[in-house]
Amino acid sequence: MSRVTRRQWLRLAGATLASAGIATRLYAAPPGGPRFLLVFLRGGYDATNALIPYASSFYYEARPTIAIPRPDPAVSGGALALDANWALAPALRDSIGALYQQHQVAFVPFAGTQDLTRSHFETQDSIELGQPLGGARDYRSGFMARLHGSLVPAGSVAVPAISFTDALPLSFQGPGQIPNISMKSVGKPPFDDRQVRILTDMYAGHPLEPAVASGLELRRQVAQAMQTLDDEMRSASRNALSIKGFELEAERMARLMRDSYRIGFVDIGGWDTHVNEGAAQGALAANLTGLGRGLGVFAQSLGAEWKNTVVVVLSEFGRTFRENGNRGTDHGHGSVYWVLGGAVNGGRIAGEQQRLERANLFQDRDYPVLNDYRALLGGLFRSLWALTPAQCAQIFPQIAPLDLKLI
């Protein structure tokens, strides 16, 4: 059939091409089941000024202008003592501190990767890929995608995953098509069902077909969910507390994870504090405040499902233990990971630790890595989904899961 007659035929006969039939198939919400959200702080957050090693006098020597004062019951709103060694930054006191006191947060200090490039990008890539170091890298295989893949029985979509980002992160690169959509701003869907069908048909058989189908469907679904959420918030907020920034994002993420998704990813930038980092107040404190509040909103908005949910907050590396010449800190090594959730075995500092004194610093500058992130996350995933050894090895090859009894 020449294209002219075909085109005519289509018009005159009013024929419709078969729909790809994608609607509602991809994102049916499975009942119950665990949920996992990974929050990636890009830029290397200064863990030492979030979880403060206040028992270490060396901390106060090493950070003459940016150390956060020791917890003092006489001072309201200061650092919150968590145990004899560690205190929580004042910026996190009301949000994460409250969850900690309900045993819903555990911190894992000295966590991270053995990657030593101290490059943001190299280390972020290396963590997101989650592959053994030193081998050839497969940039089409991120650990979140492998987690998702290991949980999906062939042919079904039991554990839907989503990335709350404008672009798909490396951690979700893989053979399955993970949808992505940022929660920063969401509006009405631009296309009606007929247009969605035509656009999807245009990509039938094309390598981008799954991305196109899933993108258009997700857009429709999110618009619907957000409409409901907005209505609820509007009717509920007679004392209209308007939330914005990461809190608003978190509220929206919680809605989608409550109703439709089981694995999520979000990243937050702006943690690279080389200059004027601040202490109890300042640049880092402002970032931590927004993060803490957002996570608080997330926990609250999940409602009953919070008890089935685990959130891990991590970053590519920690920062130098000593402050630099510009009242900031430079790229370091070990970090502090956060594990949050309604059923988390929290209210404690988990994992292998050591005293913080000069002799114990890695290369005389950083936290060492005593808790490998692959083992840590592997152990967490194993408990969360009762994974088999084969599934664990698929997600994080060549490393034994570390059971920190986090759940």
Partner: protein
Amino acid sequence: MSERLLLADARNRVFGVAVSLAAALAVVACVAPATRSGAAPAAAELALLSREDAVWLERVSFGLDSATVAAYRRLGRGRYLEQQLTAGNESLPAPIAAQIHALQTPPLDAGEILQTLQQRRKAADAMVEGPDKEQARKALNDDGNRLAYQAVRLQLLRAVYSPAQLREQMVWFWLNHFSVYQYKGDLRWLVADYEEHAIRPHALGKFRDLVLATLEHPAMLQYLDNSQNAAGHINENYARELMELHTLGVNGGYTQQDVQQLARVLTGVGINAGPVPHLKPQWQKLYLRRGAFEFNPARHDFTNKVLLGRNIAGQGFGEVEQAVTLIVRDKACARFISRELATYFVGDAPPPHLIETMAQTFQKTDGDIAATLRTLLLSAEFAAPRTAKFKDPMRYVLAAVRVAYDGRTISNTRPLLDWLNALGEAPFARQTPDGYPLTATNWESPGQMSRRFEIARAIGTGNVHLFDPEDGGAATATGFPQLSNRLFYEAIEPFLAARTRAALAQAGSPQEWNTFLLAAPEMNYE
């Protein structure tokens, strides 16, 4: 013939609007396949571009428009490329040249800008707390936003309209390679100057000059903190990124030790928009000042250094020049830059032997960017690419606007910026110094595709504000673009896939037809 007329008639009837040129061309276009198969001669006045030429030209431009195609036809590939590689003073369409002239009047350099900014900030700080002080601070902040947006306008207008398309692509490429983020420090005031004086003059020049121009620019000095780097107060941020992101690449053979040594070399390289500091006599002759760039020997670490296994004797700014020369002549630098260029122009996994050939040119010519590009753009791999290249958001948005409006002057670049923001690739908005990714995997996710389609719809339906004056007056033009134009039939239509044609055939209006075309796979790849 009756069948063809019927179609043209049907299109007119269905769309219910004047599509005279399109209708006429549609008739002709319907003959085209027969012409190509040799059965029917005389495809009237249409001169089809071959697929190879169309792809080649699309890749060395921000998308096809009539002027670009005409220049290519007139000159042929070889001369067209030479002209693009040696593009001197730009000959922009008069209305665009006028807009650009207005944006650059009065001409200011970074030094003057910073000086004024610091004075105004000081005056605002000295005011007593109250509405006046608030007002002064707000005025400063508004000015910052205005200047940053001017920089974006300058970049986008030239990218859409300049006949020197390859140079505009290279300006984008290097701005991305030496990426800076407008929301740090005073950068909103500096990014226009950074593009104009650090990047643009060297975009097709010598790589070493480009590195030094960025190294000395206050935008880079602030962004990567080297203005804070001084003897006894080492800040290694810029030193690391200079090797990792700008020159050698992360596996380029340097160590943490090299980073620390280079950071020492770079001590004292900073910014000063105020008076020359009082210095000891022996330091006065080592002091350097160009605009707001300063080398202050009082802040420099004069010890001897070892960088990449070579000794660098403590001597002042000469160390910096020596270190940069050493780095850019390293084989790793030639390979890294060649790989980045090939990824941008060829695709995600450029053939290793192409990179090697380019790296040889780079080294032989002492880092000549035009020469390295010539090797790339005349290579067999580039002439006959094995796979189509997925357009990044900048290429996608610009190509859509170029083909849709084909030289018509837009008066407002705000919609372009909004679209680039929505797709996550706006100018001067990459927070991290690695620049936007060059590979397709970062831009072809589900969320990206649905956003693209929304943009396709915005452009296709004319439901945009490209013709609103920037100052908020009444629109200078309305309506939707005429995409089924001569350019379409000569350079795009012949290569459309059957499924794209099927989608177009289902369009219920010209606006929807435009939307489907701009959303089609053919418009997302080059």
